[in-house]
Each structure stands twice: as C-alpha cells, then as structure tokens.
Amino acid sequence: MAVKNMVQAINEALTQEMKRDERILVFGEDVGTNGGVFRVTDGMVAELGADRVFDTPLAESGIMGMALGMALGGFRPIPEIQFSGFTMEAIDGLLGQLARHRYRLGGKEGVPVTVRSTFGGGVGTPELHSDNLEGLFAQSPGLRIVIPSGPYDAKGLLTAAIRNNDPVYFLEHLKLYRSVTEEVPAESYVIDLDKAHVVQEGTDITIVTYGAMVHESKKAIEKLEKDGISVELIDLRTVAPFDIDTILNSVKKTGRVVVVQEAQRLTGIGNHIMAEIAEGAMYDLEAAIGRVAAPDSHFPFGQAESIWLPNASLIEEQVRKTMAE
C-alpha cells in the first residue's frame, strides 16, 4: 500500500469517483488549468477533461447556486470554495438553499452536492483563509460537515460524501494537507459518515476532538501514557451531525472527558459536545468536563498563530487537571 498525503488522497478520491460516475463535476476558482491553489485537483483536467473539471468566476454565492441548479439538472456537483472564510459570501447558497432543499421539497429529493473547502491554522495564511467556521455551519439542519484528520480518512470520507444524496460540507485542514502521510489503499473505499472513530481505546479519560487537534492530542497522549494515564481518543470525523453514542459510551466507561477543538470557545463543535455529555452522561462523570479551545478573538494574524492555537501541551495540561479532580 502506498504512503500518501492528504492532497494525494483527495485527488485520488475525486478522480476515482469521477471515473465511476460521469455526472460528477468539479468546479470552482482555479481548480481547472491551475489544478487548485493547493494542487488538489492537479492533473484532473488532463485525465477527465476540461468540461468536467473547470474554473468559475470568482464569486462564491454563484458557485454555490450553480451547484444547486446543476443538481436539479441531474448532476452531482463538487464545488470548491477556495478558503472556508469565503463561504461567508455563500451562506444563503449553502444553508438557505442546499441544506434546506430536501426539507423544503417535503423529502422528495435532495441535492447530492459535496462542497469542498479549506481551513485551519498553522500555515500563516492571510485573514479569512483559516478560520474555523464549522460550528457556525453546524447549526444548520440538513447539512453534514466532515473534517478528516488524515489521508486515509480523507479518501474514504470524501468518497462517502460524494456518494451521499444530501449536501456535505467537506473541510480540508490546510496544515494536514502535506504534514501527515499514511498508507492509503489504491482502490475506492468508503468510511461511514455518521460514525465517530475511536482512534485508540483507553480507560482513564476520553479526549473528543477532530481535525488537526487529533494529532496534537496524540502528542499529548504519548506524554500522558508515560505517567500511566490511559486515554481513549475519539475523532469525530463528521462533526455535524456528530455521533453522540460513541462519545457517551466512551465517557460512561472512562468517567472523565476533555473536549478539544482548534476553534474558539464560543464557536466550533465543543459546546455542543459538552451539552450532550452533560445531558446524557452527567452521573457517569467523576470530574467536570474539561475543555481545550482557542481564545474568543477572531482567528489570529499569521504571526500570532503560535500563541493562539491550542496545542499538545495545553491538551496535556487539561487532561492532567481533569484527572486530578
């Protein structure tokens, strides 16, 4: 099995799915000739044709609305919003239209649209490129939000998203694009969208997280294990609607939990996870629910990322604190 990074895994998923189903179209800003600003769609024009992988004008609401219209015409569009912050320009298209379509039509038909976008700190982008906006969009019914934490998950989850008949907002973490490599099967496979992944089992405490913080949590766990603390690590994979049962089962077993997210305390998915745990497993808890999140400012200027983003040592600190309660 070949070792691949997330860019390669996503490219492979897109290419294989497009070969499988000719109704799938990829479009967005710079995805055609340029192969995407992160080269995720590199080589796809040559392989699949310029009429299936193509550029659009620089207008996000237009891209999102085109996707819905094309879905009405029987296509399975995969629009790209170059950076998640630009999704702000297309909130009606994403939440008001795509996410609502099936409900509006009384369940009769949905829109099989997978919106790909990028986000995430650690690469020093300009403003509104890296913001963790998943919590904002997660408040909308009818929309799945998927955040893979590595290449293997990225390929399987994206394939599942594309084959799903409801809209999926698929968020690719910029720092994870090339920093994590792992073995990725050459053939197609799907990973269940509605299921969290127990990355490792443990008995003393649960960490619930997603995206890049899965890797920061792993670093923290290495140190914690040296002190004999057994940690169960849960990667949500689909952050909305997330898998409550897997979280509650784990928390009931360990009795302690730390919720970790890269997003600010006020945003992200963490608040919601904590509420579910409080509602569903309060009496199984031996300590207050711990939390690691970013400060409640806007996403930082590039050079402030290192003092702003949550990291392994903050996670380690919080786990030790929760263990001590």
């Binding site: 085109m66 009405l72 015409g73 239209q97 099936r102």
Partner: protein
C-alpha cells in the same frame, strides 16, 4: 478639469440607457403598434392567452378574498403583474423549468401545480411543495435573488445534456439589487446557460421605489455588464411579453446563452395582505396604472377581432372561482403536518440523532 471630460461620462451613461429597446406590440388603446416585434399568435392562441390572463386575474381576486376571510395565510398578490407572469410563461414549454419568487405562485399553478397546493403554500403546509412528477419547477423562492443563480446552474445542465429545456425564472426590481442577481446573470453568460430571466419591474420593493434600487436608468441594461442581451417590454402588453419571451427562448436554445427581459409593470394591490401601500404611493399613480391594465387593451383588441366577449370572460371567471373555492375546501381537508414527518424530510436517511427524535415524536403523535 474641462466640461469635455464630464461629457465623455455623460454620453456613456445616456448611450447605455438609450441602447435598451422597449418592445410594445399592443398599446393602451388596444391598437397594434409593433414596436420592436410583431405578434405571431394565431386567433386561437390569442383566445387561449386571454383565458389564461383572466384566469390569473380571477385567481388573484379570489385568493385575496379568501385571505380577507382568514382562509389563507399571508398572501403576496400579483394583480397587475399577471401578464408579466403568464404571457411570458405562455411562450415556454411544459418541460421548461420554472424557478418562481413568492409572488409567482399563480404562474406555478399554470405550469402544473395544483390550486390546492397553491392554497397550502400560502397557508404554510409542506404538502404544497411536494410536486408530482412532470411538474418542472421549484416551490416559490423566498430569498429574492437565489433563484437567478440556480437558474444559471440548471440552464447550464440543460445545455450540457443538449436538452430542449430552458430554466425560466422571475425576479422583482428589488431582487436585481441583490448580489445573486449579478452573479447569476454573469455565470449564466459565461456558461451559456439555457435560461430566460424575467425581471418584473413593478416599481416597488415592498415600499422602496425602483429609483432607490439603482441609479441605472433601466434594469435591462444591467444585462450588458454580463455580456448578455437585456430588453424592456411593456409589462401591460401580453402580445409583446409573449413574443419577447418566445424569441428569448429560441435565442438561448440556439446556444447563445441567456436573455434578460425587464417587464414594466405594476402591482395594483399591496405587497402582501398585511401591507398598506397608501403609506408609500399615491392613488393617482395607482389609477394611472390601472388604466393601463392589459385586460382592457386585450378586451378591445380581441373584441374588435370578434374573438372575445363578456360571456366568454364570465365563463372563465365562473370556472376559476369554482376552481379556487374547491381548492380552499380540498386544502381544508389536508392532513395536519407531523413533527416526525418533518424530521424525516431533513436527510435521505435520518442520522442516528434524528432517528431518535423521530421515534420520540412518533410516540407522542400516537397518543
């Protein structure tokens, strides 16, 4: 700075406005004037068109009455605009896809939606939006510009698949201020979408006058910025509306990309039944437009041709009144919505969390 510099700008502005043709075939007096286009309608088609227009007006009147009787939720009536809605739609095929705004439920009914579902839509019942197969359209759009960009996408899909189908969409003058309008006509131009955009310029976005929507002299000239044709049509002239739309359909089907048609029309009544138009427009203005009513000129024109008379009109009015009354009764008998059903409509397969909620509500609903 010399005056000559300003002249350059001013000339450009005058030219861009002057470049917009205004199509009128039948004038206010019911006389053929053939400005810009000529009518191709046969006598039989003229009668059919008139029937549709009278049906539209009567439907509006009966629905407004039902609204005042508390038998409908909040109704956005379209009296005065029926020609812009129905004479344009008259030029489209049944397989052309209609993306309406909330004021365009009546044309949606003409396109195949049942009158009962129209009543249910006004009342706020999901059953309204469940169209049987072979109705090519979407439920009425609430956001005033979203349908424009969706039409661009659908029209592009049709062109790719070489379908003899057009995405046909309405927007109001207020809607043309929204970003999606510009993005939509621009995308449709780039992707040569098989689309026709009907801008119903009824002079007001609720209370805000057209002059406050844009400094542009016409709404049609906005099309030029997207590189697509834009024309104005007398919105009280059904013959011109039909001919312009038919030509636009042929143009877009020939692979030329979309067309924008601005209809100069007027909303005789209120924005919705909870709106009081006296707050923002004068009775003189209303009277002036009511005198331009397309029904008056059509009665004259068709009457002189011996194609139309009062009895024929009354027949349509009576049949339509019955249609609306029956629909009101049918809608009364529609089963009430259930929360469990609404939850089932969110995803194709309910997620585990939603499944739990469904079961919870189903248990309650059984009691």
């Amino acid at each position: 700075m010399s005056k000559q510099d300003f002249k350059l700008f001013e000339d450009m502005m005058k030219k861009s406005e002057a470049a917009i043709p205004l199509v009128q075939i039948l004038d206010e007096k019911g006389k053929l004037v053939n400005k810009g286009m000529k009518s191709s309608l046969t006598d039989e088609e003229l009668v059919d068109l008139m029937k549709v227009l009278v049906w539209g007006r009567t439907t509006n009147e009966r629905l407004i009455l039902a609204g005042r009787q508390g038998r409908i939720g909040n109704l956005p009536p379209s009296e005065g605009q029926e020609a812009s809605q129905l004479a344009t739609l008259f030029a489209m095929n049944k397989t052309d896809f209609v993306l309406p705004t909330y004021r365009d439920v009546i044309p949606l009914v003409h396109h195949g939606m049942s009158m009962k579902n129209a009543v249910l839509w006004y009342r706020g019942h999901v059953a309204a939006n469940i169209f049987p197969e072979k109705i090519y359209g979407l439920p009425a759009q609430t956001i005033i510009g979203s349908q424009i960009i969706q039409a661009a996408g659908l029209g592009y899909a049709y062109r790719r698949d070489e379908k003899d189908q057009v995405a046909f969409t309405y927007i109001g003058d207020g809607g043309t201020s929204q970003g999606d309008f510009y993005e939509g006509i621009n995308f449709a131009g780039i992707f040569k979408s098989q689309a026709v955009f009907i801008v119903q310029n009824n002079k007001y976005g609720i209370s805000v006058p057209r002059e406050m929507q844009t400094k542009a002299g016409t709404l049609a000239q906005k099309a030029a910025a997207a590189g697509i044709p834009g024309i104005q049509v007398d919105g009280m002239d059904p013959l011109a509306l039909y001919e312009a739309t038919k030509t636009a359909r042929e143009y877009t089907m020939a692979g030329n990309g979309p067309v924008l048609i601005e209809t100069l029309t007027y909303r005789f009544g209120a924005h919705t039944l909870s709106d009081d138009p006296k707050r923002y427009r004068s009775q003189e203005e209303v009277d002036e437009w009511v005198a331009k009513d397309f029904l008056i000129r059509m009665r004259t024109y068709l009457g002189e041709k011996g194609l139309w008379n009062e009895e024929m009109e009354q027949e349509v009015i009576d049949a339509t009144t019955k249609e609306v009354n029956d629909a009101l009764d049918l809608a009364d008998n529609e089963p009430k919505m259930k929360v469990s059903q609404l939850l089932k409509n969110v995803f194709e397969v309910p997620t585990p969390r939603i499944q739990k909620e469904i079961e919870m509500y189903e248990a309650k609903e059984e009691n």
